[in-house]
């Protein structure tokens, strides 16, 4: 960076073209946010099933894949809608370029969504036998209940790379130095645990107290570490000229400064304290409130982090 503050050295662009601003906008934020829910409920659900008896969470078997299915479809829809040539999405499968995290991610996410759909159908038919009777698919898949438990471990395993691959896309976005692979990988993981626990808190009304305490614990840990990582990156992430320039712009009150702090307070600080207090004395309403705040705050934080490095001129 050259000193620009004295008259003799100031350099100003006096003729050039306008540059693209935000290239990946709110649709990509929504895409990442929804994916965090879609994979997070599977990861957190698996943890609950490992720790507790199924009977303590009577509806988990069908509602977990159902939430995941809905979130993954929002994610896939906005992935598609954000393409300037949506019908050519098929080219990812016909002409895959395997060095691209977009390709690897699209293949994994499609497989993951397929398996979650199967789990949702089996879980739904088992939970609602009447529905099975009236549904042609339901009749033909009688007797495959056990398949759910067979594929579940694989789905849990797959949820990890599906949640992480976006971090690698961000790392492959070499023009945006703010996004570094190790930090983004951890942020994606915390986002999945945060979103997964929040989404399950919202449907845990009939579950045992202990399961809800576990959900509160996961939410508290995820919000704490996510906040710590954002703080570390926001204040001390001066690893390169471009990351520094991006952050200096936001620090100085540039666009997204307010949104960033809203995200931090709503999404991480308040839910953290609500979740911690909930582990001592349970208050379902407050915990639900924490879950909703965390989901809103996560969206804001992701949105800022996605957009700010795109404000920088690259040439």
């Amino acid at each position: 960076m050259v000193e620009n503050t004295i008259h003799a050295t100031q350099a100003i662009v006096t003729l050039d073209v306008a540059l693209p601003g935000i290239i990946w906008g709110w649709m990509i934020t929504l895409n990442m946010w929804a994916k965090s829910i879609g994979t997070g409920v599977i990861l957190v659900g698996a943890f609950l099933l490992y720790r507790h008896k199924k009977e303590e969470m009577p509806n988990l078997r069908w509602i977990m894949p159902l939430i995941s299915f809905i979130a993954l479809n929002v994610f896939l829809l906005f992935t598609l809608v954000d393409l300037h040539q949506p019908y050519r999405m098929i080219n990812i499968f016909l002409h895959p370029n395997w060095t691209s995290a977009i390709t690897v991610g699209a293949w994994m996410a499609s497989l993951f969504t397929g398996l979650v759909t199967v789990m949702m159908l089996i879980g739904g038919f088992d939970a609602f036998p009447d529905f099975r009777k009236h549904c042609a698919v339901g009749k033909s898949v009688r007797g495959i209940s056990g398949f759910y438990e067979k594929i579940f471990p694989f789905v849990v395993f797959l949820a990890i790379p599906v949640t992480l691959y976006t971090a690698i896309i961000m790392a492959e976005s070499s023009a945006r130095e703010l996004w570094q692979a190790p930090a983004e990988v951890m942020q994606m993981m915390w986002a999945a645990l945060l979103a997964g626990s929040s989404a399950l808190i919202l449907v845990s009304d009939s579950w045992s107290k202990e399961t809800r305490r576990d959900l509160a614990l996961i939410l508290a840990i995820a919000t704490f570490f996510s906040f710590m990582m954002y703080m570390g990156e926001y204040f001390f992430s001066f690893k390169s000229a471009e990351a520094e320039a991006t952050l200096a712009f936001v620090h100085s009150g540039g666009s997204y400064n307010v949104e960033f702090w809203f995200g931090m307070v709503l999404g991480f600080i308040i839910p953290f304290f609500l979740a911690v207090s909930n582990m001592k004395s349970e208050n379902k309403t407050l915990l639900r409130f924490a879950a909703i705040l965390a989901l809103v705050g996560l969206y804001l934080a992701k949105d800022v982090w996605l957009k700010i490095p795109q404000m920088l001129p690259l040439s």
């Binding site: 620009n4 350099a11 100003i12 990946w24 300037h84 040539q85 949506p86 977009i102 070499s174």
Partner: protein
């Protein structure tokens, strides 16, 4: 064979001949550029000077745009050119996020990514790139950088120590060199990019990426209904009644 470019900034006089020649040769739509000449004013009047820097794709040997493209629409040619196949491009804009030089644009007419191809179609038939031919002072030099006898190699050897590329720390190995460059001209963070000083245009952010006249739904309907008539004329019309969008602001 590895084709490369060299611009001698000591010769460049900012006439923008190359910019126009490129626009015409490649029918680059309004609001998009494969090559642009950036003016930077240094110092304060009367002790001020103006520099000109032509900027185009570097045809990186280790190209992040090629790596991130999910469908290999961006691909290497044998002569080192990083080419783009806009019949295959899905318009994900991954390449625009990956190219450290902002060399790629989303063509508003085709809604696919495009960029300087070193005029691959002209090279194929033995011609020089359009921008090279247009340059009145021969500041643009083009040729095989692996052939020691080529003009460009000779020029590089003749200016040893004075050759620069943009952002070498990115390890993209650009095949586009500059003579007479400096931090001011080659590093986008070394100069201010603010509205109010520019000669004719807005220099901060474009209003849209790709086709701004058609929304998301149109992208789905376009194959059936067509995109209507979207050409330079309709782009001019929409540009004249558009408000300026400066609120995002550069810095």
């Amino acid at each position: 064979m590895k084709l490369g470019f060299l611009v001698d900034l000591n010769l460049c006089m900012g006439c923008k001949g190359c910019e126009i020649a490129c626009k015409v040769e490649n029918e680059v739509p309004l609001s998009s550029w494969r090559l642009r000449v950036k003016y930077i004013d240094i110092g304060t009047f009367p002790d001020a000077s103006r520099s000109f820097t032509p900027l185009r794709c570097n045809h990186c040997e280790n190209a992040p745009c090629e790596r991130i493209c999910p469908v290999s629409a961006l691909h290497y040619l044998e002569n080192g050119i990083v080419n783009v196949d806009n019949e295959r491009c899905i318009g994900c804009a991954g390449c625009m996020m990956a190219c450290p030089y902002g060399a790629i644009y989303m063509d508003p007419e085709t809604n696919t990514a495009d960029k300087c191809t070193y005029c691959a179609h002209r090279i194929e038939s033995g011609m020089m790139p359009a921008c090279v031919v247009a340059c009145p002072v021969e500041a643009n030099i083009f040729g095989d950088v692996e052939d020691d006898t080529s003009h460009i190699s000779q020029y590089i050897m003749g200016h040893q120590g004075g050759i620069q590329v943009r952002k070498p720390e990115k390890h993209t190995n650009p095949k586009h060199y500059y003579v007479g460059g400096g931090t001011y001209t080659l590093d986008p963070l070394a100069h201010q990019r603010i509205e109010g000083y520019s000669l004719f245009t807005n220099i901060t952010h474009l209003e849209a990426v790709g086709d701004k006249n058609h929304g998301v739904l149109d992208r789905f309907l376009a194959p059936f209904t067509g995109h209507g008539k979207l050409d330079n004329k309709s782009l001019i019309e929409s540009a004249t009644d558009a408000e300026s969008h400066e609120q995002e602001g550069g810095h």
